[in-house]
Amino acid sequence: MKPMIYLLKSPYLLFLWLLLTGIFSPSTLAESRGEELFRNNCSICHGTNGSGGMGIPLASASFLDAASNQYLKQTIRLGRPGRIMPSFYWMPEADIDALIEYINQWRDTPPKNWSSRSISGNPESGAQLFKSHCAACHGDQAQGGKGTGLHFSRPTEIPVTATALNNQGLLNSAPDEMLHYIITHSRKGSIMPSATQLGLSDSSVNDIVSYIRSFQTPQLSKEKRYTEEPASLIINSPYSYEDTIENVKRAIVGSNFIHIRDQDLAHGLNVKPLPNSRQTIIYFCNFNFLYDALKIDPRVGMFLPCRVTVVEQDGKVQIMSINPKHLSQLFNNNALDESCDKMYEVYTSILEDASL
């Protein structure tokens, strides 16, 4: 009993004892660190236990079957530019290793170890094969499917979004051997058929791999769009405050959106109105458009609902809104750019129509 009392009295001895007895062995520390890193950085999209969500189900056997440790490391480092998955370029090497060790606990079999050897094939022939067998899901330019991954709460046509095979993050992470293996064996549990099921020879698989590899460019990602765009769209109104509000409502309906309601900016805040200043938010929506946008990326709620604000300050009336083009840069989701461009057109049209 006496030794235990000494241990409890001295933190130095207690710490040493925990290390020596293996309660804090390097591997348990790494596992704990990996779990913490996963929870804090990955679980938001990939699910608490790697079961998937906005991100793919990392714990699934079909994913882990082909994913080497090197592939995981590169994917964490580079992310998937334009496909939601961010780059963790800032994460220390030891943390990435701990994260991979944590992910590896979900494996039934040891990780594959792909060589970096290039596969020789005919990319022209591969392009034809890709068009016939792959493009329906992966897109005509291998840009991948739209929308988020597994079991997001609203219905999705395909349980796992088809991979963007032209993505530079993927191409710099997945060696040819890995691509060849996936095409040959497919992904178990997905709707992807194997090359065998499609009746494709090994040589044809090589051609497809060569075609996919032809998308690789020296530059990892494109320059961000719209860096020069203002964050807010603001236009002066020649009309009175009240008339401008009515003009905005008419313009909203004219753009095929539904006017929901008006609200003072300080509504619900129990503050005295400022002198010579009025601000009215006009909320509106197009539910079909909203639904489609949420399917592409549920994070767009950060900027919902649609609204235009009419502001009067010292007799000057202005109409203003967010600038969706500017905000599209925040999402790392190219599929959302089209929606953001459309909303930009809607906002500018409403602002212009209301001030004509």
């Binding site: 699910g47 969500g53 807010s232 925040l330 999402f331």
Partner: protein
């Protein structure tokens, strides 16, 4: 030295959850169901000194129009005098006010997401706003961490 060892020991045995703060967003996953998480969120907002302005029931609107969706809400909050002062001084900020957090169900979990207010630093490039935006980032991170650790 003794305190250092104790801190090291405590840091090894504890692994507190924390919100994911990227340059652009602040996000957490709560293992609680949507109704419980929504209550925790509203309480955390209030405890941080903000007034809950409104809850936009996005899912209700979608369902009423025939779309199938799980729970999806947007929670608006602000500090009254601060909002008035900033909107008068920097009207270009108005379209982004009040602050908001999107909260939606994903199976048995709930996901909470907010834009990281510090992205407005680059968007507006107003040096005087930087401390305010940093405070908002800290507050939103604290709010979301509170919700997550309350599981």
């Amino acid at each position: 030295m003794r305190n250092l060892i104790i801190c090291l020991f405590l840091s090894l045995i504890s692994s507190p959850a924390s919100a994911v703060v990227t340059g652009e967003m602040i996000m957490v996953r709560s293992s609680e169901a949507f109704p419980e998480t929504m209550s925790l969120l509203q309480e955390a907002i209030s405890n941080k000194g903000y007034t809950l302005v409104r809850v936009q029931r996005v899912d209700v609107g979608l369902t009423a129009k025939g779309y199938k969706t799980d729970k999806y809400r947007v929670v608006f909050f602000a500090k009254g005098e601060q909002l008035q002062q900033l909107s008068a001084q920097y009207p270009q900020l108005i379209p982004y006010l009040p602050l908001k957090i999107a909260i939606f169900a994903e199976d048995e979990n709930t996901i909470l997401i907010s834009a990281n207010p510090t992205v407005f630093n680059d968007m507006f490039n107003i040096p005087a706003l930087r401390p305010v935006l940093q405070t908002w980032q800290n507050d939103i991170t604290d709010i979301l961490n509170t919700v997550q650790t309350a599981n």
